[in-house]
């Protein structure tokens, strides 16, 4: 394998000396121009996203208070929505992470060979199902089905703030939304984790087994330490997805921009994305500006989470290098 991926120009004499030139310099320049401008187009597109969202959303930070859905100011509206967004995502993570890691281990280490590949394929299948279909399933089938569980939780555990509200009669609650979100983010966490698990140096694992470790001890002391940073970043990426997920939440959850810990009542906290989707028909400029401002906040928030995930990966790579 050669080391340089670069082309003749590097092998050629420096700039000031006459260059050897092939017969298609125009073609070369033109192609290079095409490729570079495509790259620049991506930068411009992203700059435009910020510019337009900023231009259209900026007025939304300070309009007539009547546009803030009963909240006095943009700050308190966005705070309530941010709470709902984070709350739903965290519930989803609590449910999804143990299963995701379990299934990832299943695929990478535990499953018999003939079952491992089909399982990975099934998880990919889960990732390919559009979110609107998950919303449909959550709203029409899953929510009503686990409604009795809401009642049970309220009857037996109502001393916990999560289960104190009167249980919803439809099952369109934070609990249901958390489950649906969990199923949606599971594939991404699973597929990232299983790739990292499979990369564990085989010698580490064999050394552990040779020392008499059981399978679990091998995983605990050889696989997990190696994969820790990768697992954390996989979870963070799942979190990023859960934060931005719109349709499933807005179809499953009956919500209002309020801050409540209750996850089984008919009044639930609302997420930013669901707030935008539920008000998309708005046409008055002020309300549209508020929605776009909310979108900007969501963008900034998910960006921060994803950046943190990337940072953790990079730090992990350095420590393994």
């Amino acid at each position: 394998m050669s080391t340089s991926l670069d082309s003749p120009p590097e092998l050629m004499p420096p700039e000031d000396e006459p260059q050897l030139e092939g017969h298609s310099t125009f073609g070369d320049r033109f192609f290079r121009f095409l490729a570079t401008s495509a790259g620049v187009a991506i930068m411009v597109a992203l700059a435009l996203v910020f510019l337009f969202l900023g231009l259209e959303g900026f007025p939304g930070f300070d309009v007539d208070p009547s546009n803030y859905d009963g909240k006095g100011s943009f700050g308190s509206l966005v705070l309530a929505l941010l709470f709902g967004t984070t709350y739903a995502a965290i519930i989803a993570l609590i449910i999804a992470v143990p299963f995701a890691i379990g299934v990832a281990l299943f695929i990478s280490h535990y499953a018999p060979r003939w079952l491992s590949k089909p399982t990975a394929y099934v998880i990919d299948l889960l990732a390919a199902v559009p979110s609107v279909v998950f919303g449909l399933w959550g709203g029409l089938a899953f929510g009503p089905y686990i409604q009795p569980a809401h009642v049970w939780l309220h009857e037996h555990l109502s001393w916990l703030p999560f289960f104190s509200p009167t249980p919803s009669a439809t099952g369109r609650t934070m609990l249901t939304a958390g489950f649906v979100l969990a199923i949606m983010i599971l594939p991404i966490i699973t597929s990232l984790c299983r790739e990292i698990f499979a990369q564990t140096p085989r010698l580490h694992e064999e050394a552990a087994l040779a020392l008499g470790a059981t399978r679990w001890e091998t995983v605990r002391y050889a696989v997990f330490p190696y994969a820790r940073s990768g697992m954390v970043s996989a979870v963070m990426l799942g979190l990023g997805r859960a934060l931005g997920e719109t349709m499933a939440v807005s179809m499953v959850l009956s919500s209002a921009p309020i801050i409540t810990l209750g996850i089984i009542g008919s009044e639930n906290s609302r997420t930013i994305a669901a707030h935008i989707a539920q008000n998309y028909k708005e046409t008055t400029p002020d309300k549209v500006a508020v929605l776009i401002a909310c979108g900007l906040v969501l963008f900034a928030f998910t960006f921060a989470v994803n950046a943190l995930a990337r940072y953790i990966v990079q730090r992990g790579e350095r420590s393994h290098a």
Partner: protein, 359 residues
């Protein structure tokens, strides 16, 4: 390079070895998990019969297995083996539990969707359909094809050329580092924000309104990073020997890329593009915001709202009627079939043009 380690049962020991091993711990027989699973299944079945609720039955099965297996192992083999068996049981249960929602969802979509789908459903729009009259999703199907087509037209050339820049021209330059970073940022854009952007763009340029084109632009924003990533990976797989052989023959750089590098990696690139299309074709939120909804057939992407399949499902669902739910399932089945077909096509293309690594 060693293949990743897999916990598999080694060759069975002969009876002689088993009895001879005074140094060996007592072990559970190989058929133990099977027996416990059967017992747990019987217990689960009993719970199901008594409670009349299949969910309790499944929960009973899993709980019984999770408790009995480690307990038996602890008694016979000791604490460490018990913990090991507990984790193994949990990993298997996680796998089993995950299958439940998937099977449930697919089964529901197929069984309810088939009820809704017939010739009229696929060839009629919802124009002036009232009450229980037969309508259809023709307008949404058409809209989805147009909007996704626009998205592909915008993002495929940009994505592929940007990847060519990153791999062939911009190695290690500041610009390429910046672009790689921005592609990362783009991957994380929440889909509804992409829709808001397209809406804001069009509102500023043409005045507020929803168009098919705006939806296409929103989707292309989500599609570009996937295309760049897939193409990048494929270009990286092209061996440098090929490039150098071409240069050595005096072929210019762009011809090398166009005639050697791209043809070598075309299969993977096409697969990546098809998968990217399959991913965005089910996006709902951006289209809801940017393209809006209508009951009529609209084939003009710059004139008025355009219906798409995911939005059709959503609007039918929000009707909260029997018929709406039925039509939503019909739309969902159509959408899933399209997505699965695209995935299948991508797989077949990937198989046919699998990168030939000669050495």
């Amino acid at each position: 390079m060693l293949a990743p380690l897999r916990f598999e049962r080694g060759p069975r020991m002969s009876t002689q070895q088993k009895t001879a091993g005074a140094l060996q711990h007592a072990r559970l027989p190989g058929w133990a998990p099977g027996v416990v699973l059967t017992g747990s299944a019987a217990f689960g079945g009993l719970v199901w019969l008594l409670s009349g609720n299949v969910a309790f039955g499944v929960a009973g099965l899993i709980l019984a297995f999770l408790i009995a297996m480690p307990l038996w192992a602890t008694l016979v083999e000791g604490r460490r083996a018990g913990v090991d068996r507990a984790v193994t049981a949990m990993v298997w249960s996680a796998f089993g539990v995950i299958l439940i929602p998937l099977v449930w969802l697919i089964w529901l979509t197929v069984s309810k969707g088939i009820e809704a789908i017939n010739m009229e459903f696929l060839t009629y729009s919802m124009r002036s359909v009232v009450g229980d009259e037969q309508g259809g999703l023709y307008h949404a199907l058409l809209g989805t094809l147009i909007v996704t087509g626009i998205a592909a037209l915008i993002s495929v050339p940009i994505g592929i050329f940007a990847a060519i820049y990153l791999i062939e021209y911009g190695r290690g330059t500041k610009l390429s580092k910046a672009i790689t970073f921005l592609v990362d940022v783009m991957t994380g854009i929440p889909s509804i924000v992409a829709g808001l952007f397209a809406f804001a763009l069009f509102a500023l340029v043409f005045g507020p309104g929803r168009f098919g084109l705006a939806g296409g632009i929103a989707l292309s924003l989500l599609m570009v990073p996937t295309v760049v990533r897939a193409t990048e990976e494929m270009l990286k797989l092209v061996p440098d020997d090929l490039r150098e052989a071409s240069y050595a023959l005096g072929v210019s750089k762009w011809r090398t890329i166009a005639k050697v590098v791209l043809p070598t990696s075309i299969g993977g690139i096409v697969t990546g593009v098809v998968l990217a299309i399959a991913r965005v074709i089910g996006e709902t939120a951006p289209l809801l915001v940017a393209s809006g909804f209508t009951n009529n057939v609209n084939t003009n992407p710059v004139d008025g709202p355009m219906m798409t399949l995911p939005v059709f499902i959503y609007t039918q669902y929000t009707q909260a009627t029997e018929k709406g739910a039925l039509y939503a399932w019909g739309g969902a089945l159509t959408l899933i079939v399209i997505v699965m077909l695209l995935n299948l096509v991508a797989r077949i293309i990937g198989k046919i043009y699998a990168p030939k690594t000669g050495h």
